[in-house]
């Protein structure tokens, strides 16, 4: 790596900052805001030692909570800081990681697919400048998140060292996954595939940490196989181990070096895995709008189905440990009292299914946005100049989106059900969990409908529907910590689905959600039928 390979990095950094002048500040501000509000709410909620002890004794050694929150370092002598770590650390790390994955892919592999990349490289831009610029911006974004959240958390009244360790740890996870995505961008053959690879690696690392932390067996090493595990291993507010942050930094540097190395071994616009010649004729089924839509989306559908199934199976297979813990730990009595008769296992399972549904919503949105990306890429123009009607064209992608959502959602139910059925030896759990997961479908359809509505009437704002997913996730995961008022929580369609299997089935809310989805979708289709095709 000589100096000349980096020429032009500064200009590219400015270009990225300009192109992402809306997107990036939204991510950064969203993450900072989430952390700041969480910090102050936790502070207000756990204002006496008794309440803090109450929290830690409920959480401690509860595998269901360990898997979603962390192992609870410092619970032996707890301060309010360890509660903050337990509530925010992993999710903030996941948020920073996803921000980096999207950012780096967008400005490296995905960008290469446009003709702009060639144009840029033909100007004075060094070979490593593109990757460097994307990584620098990712670093800047994560540093801003870390610095701001550290200041805000300290300002709310937490200790400085602990705040810095906590905020630094999740910021560094963001940096680490920026580097990981830079490598994925070299390996994958398309921007879409690189994005999938980066996100899948983040998800895998997230799950691996969870399995490691609840395992007492040989699998415990998994905690230390994952950047998320290292972030938790920093032990903020519990005798900080700063070397774990150094470990994250070293990992990021090593992976970045690998990305640089790989990038010189391939041509612009291609992946490491070279393309072979394809078929000269198209199979008949793929030359219809529906066939094409399926063909374009089947790779993503397969990836999501497998990823969601595996994740769900992991969450399902820890279900039995909850029963065991119930026998061992009388302190949980209070916690059960709040469940109004439902078994703690069922509450856990319904929580797991809901988390899975949020993940599935990620698939649904990326799938429904395909209409818009086909339009901006100019493919829609070719399609709609044939005897394909507008209804049929949007409808085909929508059919794939809805059918795909059912498949991925079913995979989540089957995964949780199968995992749980295997560990407790009760096959009846499989259909039970499958049914409970599919009950969440109308909530997903509402969000899909919202995307179609935007696509029909405000096409350039269609991507804003990711904001709806962010809102659903914040309400679902942070609703309690943030003490969000009821009407805000009611905005999330997931909140209206009865929490099966912990609660009984209710027809009315599900029917209302289904009807809302139909109305939103129909309104969006009418809008699209009337509007011009537009570019980006």
């Amino acid at each position: 790596m000589t100096g000349t390979t980096l020429v032009g990095t500064g200009r590219l950094v400015r270009l990225i900052l300009r192109r992402d002048r809306v997107r990036l500040p939204l991510w950064v501000a969203g993450l900072i805001g989430l952390m700041a509000v969480s910090a102050s709410q936790v502070q207000a909620l756990y204002d006496t030692p008794a309440k803090i002890i109450g929290y830690t004794s409920t959480m401690r050694d509860n595998p269901a909570l360990v898997i979603f929150a962390g192992p609870g370092y410092g619970f032996d002598d707890p301060g309010v800081g360890v509660i903050l770590v337990n509530e925010t650390s992993l999710w903030m790390a996941l948020g920073c990681a996803l921000m980096s994955v999207f950012l780096v892919n967008r400005h490296t592999r995905a960008e290469e697919e446009s003709e702009r990349a060639d144009l840029l490289r033909s100007t004075v831009v060094g070979r490593h400048a593109t990757i460097s610029a994307a990584l620098i911006v990712a670093l800047m974004a994560n540093v801003v998140v870390t610095a701001s959240t550290t200041v805000l958390t300290t300002a709310v009244g937490y200790g400085f060292a602990g705040s810095l360790a906590l905020c630094g740890s999740f910021g560094m996870v963001g940096v680490a996954f920026a580097a990981v995505t830079a490598v994925a961008a070299q390996l994958a053959s398309t921007g879409r595939a690189a994005l999938g690879l980066g996100a899948a690696l983040a998800g895998l690392a997230f799950i691996a940490r969870g399995i490691g932390d609840i395992s007492t067996s040989w699998l415990a090493w998994l905690s230390w196989s994952s950047p998320f595990g290292w972030a938790i291993g920093v032990r903020a507010f519990a005798g900080e181990r700063w070397w774990a942050i150094a470990l994250l930094a070293a990992f990021s540097l090593a992976v970045t070096a690998a990305a640089f190395e790989l990038s010189v071994r391939r041509d612009l616009g291609s992946g490491m895995l070279t393309q072979r010649a394809g078929p000269a004729r198209a199979p008949r089924w793929s030359t219809t709008p529906l066939g094409l839509a399926f063909r374009l989306q089947r790779g993503a559908l397969l990836g999501w189905t497998v990823g969601v199934f595996v994740t769900a199976a992991v969450y399902g297979s820890v279900g039995n440990q909850i029963e065991q813990m119930l026998e061992d730990n009388p302190q949980l009595k209070d916690y059960f009292a709040a469940l109004q008769g439902a078994s703690i296992t069922d509450v856990y399972l319904s929580t797991a299914l809901r988390m899975m549904a949020m993940l599935v919503m990620g698939f649904s949105l990326s799938s429904v946005l395909r209409n818009r990306s086909e339009e901006t890429a100019g493919y829609a123009e070719s399609m709609l100049a044939t005897a394909t009607s507008r209804w049929w064209w949007v409808g085909s992608h929508l059919v794939v989106t809805v059918a795909g959502t059912v498949v991925v959602l079913a995979a989540s139910g089957l995964g949780v059900g199968l995992g749980y059925a295997l560990v407790i030896g009760d096959a009846a759990q499989v259909p039970r969990m499958l049914g409970a997961s599919l009950a969440l479908l109308p909530a997903l359809l509402v969000v899909i409908g919202l995307a179609v509505l935007l696509f029909g009437w405000l096409p350039r704002a269609t991507v804003a529907v990711w904001g709806a997913l962010a809102a659903v996730v914040v309400i679902g995961i942070f609703g309690d910590v943030l003490r969000l008022p009821g009407w805000v929580r009611d905005l999330s369609p997931l909140q209206h689905v009865p929490a099966l299997p912990a609660r009984p089935w209710q027809t009315l809310p599900i029917a209302v959600l289904g009807a809302a989805a139909v109305v939103l979708t129909a309104a969006g289709l009418v809008g699209f039928r009337r509007r011009d095709l537009t570019g980006a």
């Binding site: 000269a280 793929s286 219809t288 374009l296 070719s382 044939t386 095709l533």
Partner: protein, 304 residues
């Protein structure tokens, strides 16, 4: 008249916010002809074609395509036409052959023998993924898909952009074949030699308005013939004759331009002066075209 119009636009208007892309455009394409659609960058050619395809909705005026309404009857009309867009964007992970089949089937089937023949004539490798094609080869995929259809109307937006001269010649043959079969072609292009070769009639537009329309002969009448002559003596008095412009001395010769209707009278008067040598050439489309843009060039501050 209505029956033999494949495309008719009357006072078509299209605005994008403050931009008036089409400002009362007229276009008349007769059944069976090859119609050239010319105009400087940003004149509105692509916008017109996209309105004709129902991809955009006109804000005013009327457009008729094969006797139907391009917006309301889009699907039925699209069975009868094939379109090659200006920016050829192809699904990067499909092969050229797959894309030809896809677009062909979506248009209601393609002619198998013609498909094979065109792939051969254009020397296209149909097994390559679209992302691996060069620009010219991507263009060929779109062209083969359109030409292999049984469409009665071809709408081609700068179809030869990126083709090498050999392939350009193949394309011109294909358009001639299409005309021989009775198909209609609307062709936008910046390559005037090509338009001159293949088109029966042309429409020239500027800033969203039609400035000229007619057969090449008709348009030539509106333009000036260039004459370069050597006469017995000086000859500069020619400058005073009616219908004569731009008189220049060129060594022993005098060159000037003559309005088409004045050509006969000018030649007679030259004969009276005693012609030693004379050369004349009719206006090329290029000259015609440039003359139409004179006004625009002047506005842009270009002086000739």
């Amino acid at each position: 008249m209505g029956a033999d119009a494949a495309v008719r636009c009357e006072a078509l208007i299209k605005t994008f916010g403050p931009t008036r892309a089409l400002d009362g455009l007229d276009l008349d394409v007769r059944v069976g002809e090859v119609h050239g659609f010319l105009g400087p960058n940003g004149a509105g050619k692509t916008v017109t074609m996209r309105i004709l395809l129902g991809l955009l909705r006109g804000d005013g005026g009327r457009a008729t395509l094969l006797g139907g309404d391009p917006w309301a009857d889009a699907v039925a009309l699209h069975r009868r036409l094939a379109y090659v867009p200006g920016d050829t964007n192809l699904w990067p992970n499909l092969t050229g052959g797959e894309i030809i089949d896809l677009l062909g089937n979506l248009r209601g089937g393609l002619d198998e023998t013609r498909r094979a023949e065109l792939i051969d004539r254009f020397d296209l490798d149909p097994r390559k993924k679209a992302r691996a094609y060069s620009k010219g080869n991507r263009q060929k995929v779109a062209l083969v898909a359109a030409l292999a259809s049984r469409a009665e109307l071809l709408i081609l937006d700068e179809p030869t952009a990126g083709l090498d001269p050999l392939m350009e010649a193949v394309f011109q043959d294909c358009v001639a074949d299409a005309r021989a079969e009775g198909r209609t072609t609307l062709l936008s292009s910046h390559i005037l030699a090509e338009v001159e070769k293949v088109c029966d009639r042309v429409t020239i537009i500027r800033k969203g308005r039609t400035v000229r329309s007619g057969s090449l002969e008709e348009l030539r009448v509106l333009a000036r013939t260039t004459i370069s002559v050597q006469v017995a003596h000086d000859g500069m008095e020619i400058a005073g004759w009616p219908g004569v412009f731009d008189v220049r001395r060129d060594g022993v010769r005098v060159s000037f331009e003559v309005d088409q209707p004045a050509v006969g009278a000018v030649v007679e008067r030259l004969a009276a002066l005693g012609i030693v040598a004379l050369e004349s050439h009719p206006p090329t489309l290029e000259e015609l075209f440039l003359r139409q843009y004179d006004a625009e060039l002047a506005e842009a501050g270009v002086h000739q």
